[in-house]
Subunit: 344 residues, 2 copies
């Protein structure tokens, strides 16, 4: 019903695709008047993190996300590991070094203390591996009829010693690199939610900070993004629309694990809309792209690949094109609809 | 059942009293190894905000809270106004000037878009009144069987030009000031939850930043705290235990509105455990206390009062004593149990 769609929140509003962007734009971005601090990155950019300039060209980068994934424990991780890695990744892709984390836990009455302990220890392990401090947080309990499980809202704080990497900085000619096979996280959650056991897929949930460090060290990096909700379809469209470039990607260059492809076919979900939580898209100038990929491969990102490039728009608005394996071209649009629910 | 209590989360764990402190201490504070940035305020302090030093004696102050209040709209405010004021207040009581805010919204499928718009506009109004930028956020949607209503997790960022005001900085002889009548917020939520209409009480939900600015300007301020969950009973006990001082407060000096007292008596809830969301406890050296109160009264805080003082502990551990109207003395302990559910 059109009326219901217009007057009520739908699952699609939370799927991280087209409807999420539209809702945030209309209810928030267009409404607020004060949207940034000085010349920092603010609300209007809708980038992965905001920045607060602190002088000498340095900034503090800050990101906030609420994690609602179900099931709480899944092959390859749990909601705690996801909260830490997702937060680290949002800071990493803007070019920041994460230094601190804050956790705001909302949990249902009756939740297992042992599970809560496991979840907390999961984010502790990830944070301490990267030397990140937990500097504060909050804890609330909701009655059982009001919340099913646990929500972790995490705030990450990072240091940025130079200009941020923004989605809007991609130029025609730049190459698009992916650090590894896409869609593992979305597929793992989907399989768990649907109870599909014959397909063995694990979430790729892990910090991509090492990959960004490698690209920054080599140089030529323009932008980066972790393709979570909405997958690379959403992430590439954000690069495209914010940078006003067409993006062309080649299907035969995009690494996808067999099990993930099989699950996507079985469920009818576009594999390019499936979330990764341990991969990054990195945009690099064409002269550095090969070197970045080689260095990534030498450092544990064995499936890193150049998957395409940015071009001047050929139409009236910038778009993302997928060159298919059979030689065709299709538009890769920002995903719409419910997609896979609650993957993060 | 003792076993259930030990293995499951209870509502008391989220009430902001004794059980909340113990749970956070055992599951988080004692577990994490990296708890601060440089000599900033970190996890161990369990204060209202953390700080990150940025050089020249300055710091960024950061606070995170999840707001789950029910009902979402209540006399005197709504969950959006509460999220903004609570966050501003957590920064104010550590001595910081709030500059930026981030909102992470989790909302149930089917939630009214109009209500969501009202809630967002509520925090917009408060933030813009104080010149605070909204620099980013997140939005998630949960299915109707998983969440009842809306949760707003807010991150506040402030600037601190000098040393933070900490709960641990109270010294014997210092005076305790309250900026106005206590418990209005807790009473308003309690009345709404119980459907008590004959008692007319409104939440005091508002930024206390102007009060802290007044006290800082006059000088002599040692510490401050907004007595939210657990009321002044909890806040005074935090001053006492962290500063290792006894605190003596005088019942006849503590402003309480008649309706709030009546509701407390009717429900058997200690009025000193009822939350305020628009008042602060300010600890000031004795030579400045009168001047701070006078200036507060001249600037809209007409019920501001000195309610007691800090003293050297007379026993083996520091405690909070209430001198009652009839001339007796009773211990005012950190509240235990469920208190009023979901007041913030």
């Amino acid at each position: 019903m059109a009326h219901t769609y217009l007057s009520k929140i739908t699952l699609a509003h939370g799927a991280g695709g087209y409807e999420t962007s539209e809702l945030i734009r209309k209810l928030i971005v267009e409404v607020f008047k004060i949207k940034r601090i000085g010349d920092g990155v603010g609300l209007s950019e809708l980038d992965d993190a905001a920045t607060i300039p602190i002088g000498n060209g340095k900034s503090i980068a800050i990101t906030v996300d609420s994690y609602t994934v179900k099931p709480h424990f899944f092959p390859g991780g749990d909601i705690g590991k996801l909260a830490a890695t997702g937060t680290i990744n949002d800071l990493a892709v803007i070019g920041a070094e994460p230094i601190a984390f804050m956790d705001s836990i909302v949990v249902e009455e009756g939740f297992s203390l042992e599970d809560l302990r496991k979840i907390i220890n999961s984010y502790k392990s990830v944070l301490e591996e990267y030397g990140i401090a937990l500097i504060g947080g909050d804890l609330k309990v909701m009655p059982r009829d009001s919340l099913d499980g646990i929500i972790i809202s995490s705030t990450g704080i990072g240091l940025l010693n130079d200009a941020p990497l923004l989605d809007s900085m991609v130029k025609p000619g730049d190459k698009i690199i992916v650090t590894g096979a896409i869609g593992d996280h979305g597929a793992a959650i989907l399989a768990a939610q649907l109870g599909i056991e014959e397909i063995n897929v694990r979430s790729d949930c892990k910090p991509i900070l090492p990959a960004i460090r490698i690209a920054k060290k080599i140089g030529g990096i323009k932008a980066a993004k972790d393709p979570t909700r909405g997958g690379i379809a959403m992430a590439l469209n954000e690069f495209s629309s914010k940078s006003n470039v067409d993006i062309v990607v080649y299907e035969d260059s995009i690494p996808v694990h067999e099990e993930v492809r099989a699950l996507a076919e079985m469920t009818g979900i576009d594999v390019y809309a499936l979330a990764s939580e341990g991969q990054a898209l990195i945009v690099v100038s064409s002269d550095k792209a090969e070197e970045v990929v080689e260095e990534l491969r030498r450092n544990g990102f064995s499936e890193a690949s150049i998957i395409g490039e940015a071009r001047k728009p050929i139409g009236s608005k910038p778009r993302v094109y997928l060159k298919t394996m059979v030689g065709g071209t299709r538009l890769l649009e920002a995903p719409r609809g419910e997609l896979v629910p609650r993957i993060c």
